[in-house]
């Protein structure tokens, strides 16, 4: 079921200024219009790799980055690459829902306004579409002017997703997007992903093995900065090739 390669990661490695090596020589393909899962125990470098895909690591103390990441064949790691444009093409949802201190409406239009879009009709349409996509429309359509921080945690996280969807990115990165959420909100977000994957490429760091197994079209198992195994999700969770993957999936270590 291999499709188009959306992101190609080539011999990618990364070290922090405190000397710790976060990622070691990763080579991996992310497939377009699929749910790509990066999983493994904490500290394995999954989030770091996720953030490398829209260069958010630029904000932290990264000492050394080796290798390349290609988005549609274009090297996004090269110096001088237009990062602002990259981040509009590759959106991210973080583990903890962080709504900006403004209204629900402005939270969603924020990214569009940054891109210079002022047209009210365009903004309205984007708000409606992205709220519907993220299954939040029913709950908030009559109070778009309310401050976003008045929403519940689950609603806030769906708002964060809507905020990304408003930009119509090509790739959506999700960093443990349901870690603090109740099962119902978690289910809503997982359903949203399934519904939207015909249009978007998802890369998700799940918050549990169970979630990984539920959503993965493609799965990659990370352990201490190394990619141990990569393959079709269903196959890997039924029949992992490596003993360490199997040990982790079956809960022998966490």
């Amino acid at each position: 079921m291999a499709g188009d390669i959306k992101i190609h990661i080539q011999n990618f490695g990364l070290r922090y200024s405190d000397g710790t090596e976060s990622l070691h020589d990763i080579t991996l393909d992310i497939y377009a219009r699929q749910i790509n899962v990066l999983f493994g125990p904490a500290g394995g470098g999954k989030s770091t790799l996720l953030r490398a895909m829209n260069r958010l690591n630029d904000l932290t103390d990264v000492v050394e980055q080796t290798g390349h990441i290609l988005l549609d064949g274009e090297d996004i790691t090269r110096p001088g690459y237009d990062i602002v444009r990259l981040r509009r093409r590759v959106g991210i949802v973080f583990a903890r829902p962080v709504v900006l201190p403004m209204s629900i409406y402005r939270n969603i239009t924020y990214g569009l306004e940054l891109a210079g879009i002022r047209d009210k009709a365009t903004l309205d349409a984007a708000v409606t579409r992205s709220l519907q996509q993220s299954a939040l429309w029913e709950e908030v359509h009559d109070r778009l002017g309310d401050p976003a921080h008045a929403l519940s945690g689950g609603q806030q996280q769906r708002l964060c997703l809507a905020r990304v969807l408003a930009l119509q990115p090509e790739v959506i990165l999700l960093d443990e997007p349901t870690s603090g959420l109740d099962p119902i909100s978690t289910a809503k977000i997982e359903t949203t992903m399934q519904e939207l994957k015909s249009d978007y490429t998802f890369v998700i760091v799940p918050h549990s093995v169970q979630q990984a197994a539920r959503v993965a079209d493609w799965a990659s198992f990370f352990l201490q900065g190394e990619l141990i195994e990569h393959g079709v999700g269903r196959e890997m969770f039924l029949k992992p090739k490596h003993t360490r993957t199997e040990d982790y999936i079956t809960g022998r270590f966490g």
Partner: protein
């Protein structure tokens, strides 16, 4: 799938951004530029003094500019006496007030006290000088039965009081910085609250207390209007303990009192700038020293100092 608004990032916007970010960077280094500029100007206007007046004339005990006597020693001694005195008085008072606010006072008292200490920081020094001159100095004269209340001692008390917001604020930060686990450990061992403060909290905050002292000194040595109004301004060489209860004249007061009257470019003008240069160098040294003691705790202190 490219979206409909691609290619729109406006060039004009990034031009504005470019200019704004340059302006921010220039503002960022403005402090360095200004310190250097101030230093250079003090040197430019102050160093001619060393050509015009022989060193032996500057390091003499007689300050009488009208007749060409520019001995700086009485002024330096005056500043030293008042400053050291103020520091000695304000450190224990400030420390005690900080302990009171941080450790002893109930919440409602603390909520009243903190703004009041800030009010103290906000009272203009000319107002404190004014009250010192009209109310405080006569009180000292009568109480101590001395010829005039405008003495070094009067200046010391008022300066100590004025330096308190700085000392209290730094000391409070110091007390806050001592981890709660230290206190809990002490209390768990059956120490009283006072023993915890005296034997654990204060020793743990030693370096911060030292810094509070230095910043208080920095504040006191630069104070101008209050000292000018309450210390009597007699440029005499203090020799004994008795002189503590006599008028003195500080470096700051000398500049403030005489600069308005001198001709630009005269030796007197240059000597006053040299006095300013001396003050600059002293406060520079004191502040560098204080900053290097505990850089982390400086934030509030520098706000109080201004």
């Amino acid at each position: 799938m490219t979206d409909q608004h691609e290619g729109q990032p406006k060039r004009s916007l990034s031009w504005v951004e470019f200019l704004i970010e340059r302006a921010i960077q220039v503002s960022g280094i403005s402090a360095i530029i200004l310190v250097v500029l101030i230093f250079l100007f003090l040197i430019k206007e102050g160093t001619p003094a060393f050509m015009e007046v022989p060193l032996s004339g500057l390091f003499a005990t007689r300050w009488y500019p009208i007749e060409g006597y520019y001995g700086l020693l009485p002024l330096i001694m005056g500043s030293l006496i008042v400053t050291i005195g103020a520091a000695v008085v304000s450190l224990p008072l400030g420390l005690a007030t900080a302990i009171f606010i941080a450790e002893i006072a109930p919440d409602w008292v603390r909520n009243i006290l903190k703004p009041f200490v800030e009010v103290l920081a906000g009272i203009p020094s000319v107002v404190i000088g004014f009250i010192g001159m009209l109310v405080f100095a006569p009180l000292i004269r009568v109480t101590l039965d001395i010829p005039t209340g405008l003495t070094a001692f009067t200046g010391v008390l008022l300066l100590a009081w004025m330096a308190l917001p700085t000392v209290v604020s730094v000391a409070e930060d110091v007390l806050d910085a001592v981890p709660k686990t230290y206190r809990d450990a002490g209390l768990a061992l059956g120490m009283t609250r006072w023993q915890v403060i005296w034997r654990i909290v204060l020793p743990a905050g030693r370096s911060g207390v030292l810094m509070a002292l230095m910043l208080g000194v920095g504040r006191a040595i630069g104070e101008t209007m209050t000292v000018m109004m309450v210390t009597g301004n007699a440029a005499r060489m203090p020799v004994g303990l008795r002189d503590f209860f006599m008028p003195v004249r500080t470096m700051t007061a000398t500049i403030a009192a005489e600069m308005g009257e001198v001709a630009h470019g005269s030796p007197h003008y240059h000597v006053l700038f040299a006095v300013g240069l001396t003050l600059f160098v002293i406060t520079f040294a004191v502040n560098i020293a204080a900053a290097s003691v505990v850089f982390r705790q400086v934030k509030r202190a520098e706000r109080m100092l201004a």
